[in-house]
């Protein structure tokens, strides 16, 4: 079972909710899929002793076999290759690793070499994993795909998704069994919630909403959820205490926290929703 925690809008509290749930649900795995800026480790303090490199295949041209015919350049839809003078230039950052150049090259002058784009960090007990994209690398999707592929299907996995509703989020969502949508009662929160709901509908995923920074009434979110028939599973109050805890790297479910019952209730609601 994989539960994806998403929001559309950044800064609504995905990581707070995802990390809190991963702590409260027994034997849950926490997987930080926000590979451009993973931050769940700040709150869960895992040991992160294991590291694997993530590589993508990029073309390399053997000048001894290359005839400078240029079929590879014409085959590339991303302009990652150029034929200049007597050599083929490769721009690895533009490569989408599709292998078209390899197929187009009749003399077989192109082979693929592995380029490291980032890594996956794991805790020794396997309950915490995060992807980290190298600075300067443009595309983290291969890291997200591998994080999800390596998730233990017999475990409950909490997938902390990146913000937005574009490709990285789609790659997280399409493997998920349930979508937990974290939002806030602001026009921006609602706008991005709508985008993510339309994505969830396209993928026919069951979903529930958590309203963070709740003002108690949350009218704009409530009326949208009623209209969309989306259950509101919890309201986390707009609280200075939660913000102070967050700024110190503590979750609102730490043992001394008055918010623990609220999150226990959310965990219970999710268990019921996903048992259906």
């Amino acid at each position: 079972m994989k539960i994806a925690v998403l929001s559309g809008k950044g800064g609504t509290g995905k990581t707070t909710v995802a990390a809190s749930l991963a702590s409260l649900l027994p034997d849950a795995d926490y997987i930080d899929c926000d590979v451009e800026e993973p931050n769940g480790f700040l709150f869960l303090s895992p040991d992160l002793s294991l590291h694997d490199s993530v590589t993508v295949p990029v073309p390399e041209v053997d000048p001894a076999l290359c005839t400078m015919y240029g079929a590879c350049v014409r085959a590339c839809q991303f302009n990652a290759l150029a034929a200049v003078g007597s050599r083929i230039m490769v721009f690895p950052d533009l490569c989408h690793h599709c292998g078209a150049c390899l197929i187009a090259c009749k003399p077989g002058a192109i082979c693929e070499i592995d380029q490291v784009i980032g890594q996956i960090d794991r805790s020794a007990d396997g309950h915490f994993r995060q992807g980290v994209l190298r600075t300067g690398q443009p595309v983290g999707l291969p890291i997200i795909d591998r994080l999800i592929r390596e998730a233990d299907p017999d475990h409950l996995s909490i997938l902390d998704a990146p913000p937005g509703s574009s490709c990285p989020v789609v790659h997280v969502l399409r493997s998920a069994d349930y979508a937990l949508l974290v939002t806030e009662p602001t026009p921006f929160g609602l706008h991005d919630l709508k985008m993510i709901v339309s994505l969830v509908r396209d993928l026919s995923l069951p979903a529930g909403v958590v309203i963070n920074k709740s003002n108690g009434t949350d009218l704009i979110i409530d009326s949208f959820c009623r209209q969309e028939n989306l259950p509101v599973l919890a309201r986390i109050p707009f609280s200075r205490d939660i913000a102070v805890r967050y700024s110190r790297g503590y979750l609102p479910i730490d043992p001394d926290s008055p918010w623990r019952p609220l999150f226990n209730g959310l965990a219970e609601r999710i268990r019921k929703e996903t048992d259906r």
Binding site: N79, A80, A82
Partner: protein
């Protein structure tokens, strides 16, 4: 001999386009200022690698001289490895570039500019 000038319109009286990869038009002239061709690009510029693709187009067209505004790092890498001589455009029309080139008044482009500068 072929000279290419990036422009905002399809005639020699149109102003120069400071962008290279995402230039609206490329006008091609011979050394006697006769216009040989007009490559129209406009919104057809590719989503990624526009500078590389345009550089390849000019290499394939056998261009000898390019007069443009800014070259991004990728376009610079391709063009500086080619035989095309690169000149920084002065303010004005395509015709102004040609006369400046004939008077030897254009400065060569000797380094890459900022990436994605011409992205709209």
């Amino acid at each position: 001999m072929k000279l290419a000038v990036t422009t905002l319109g399809k005639t020699r009286l149109d102003p120069v386009d400071q962008r290279f990869g995402r230039a609206e038009y490329i006008l091609i002239f011979d050394e006697n200022n006769v216009q040989l061709d007009c490559i129209e690009q406009g919104s057809l510029a590719p989503a990624s690698g526009a500078g590389i693709a345009m550089a390849q187009k000019l290499i394939d067209a056998g261009i000898d001289v390019l007069i443009t505004g800014h070259l991004g790092p990728n376009a610079w890498q391709v063009l500086s490895a080619s035989d095309i001589r690169l000149y920084e455009a002065v303010e004005g029309t395509a015709d102004d570039q040609l006369s400046a080139w004939h008077q030897d008044a254009l400065s060569p482009i000797s380094a890459a500019g900022q990436a994605h500068r011409g992205r709209s």
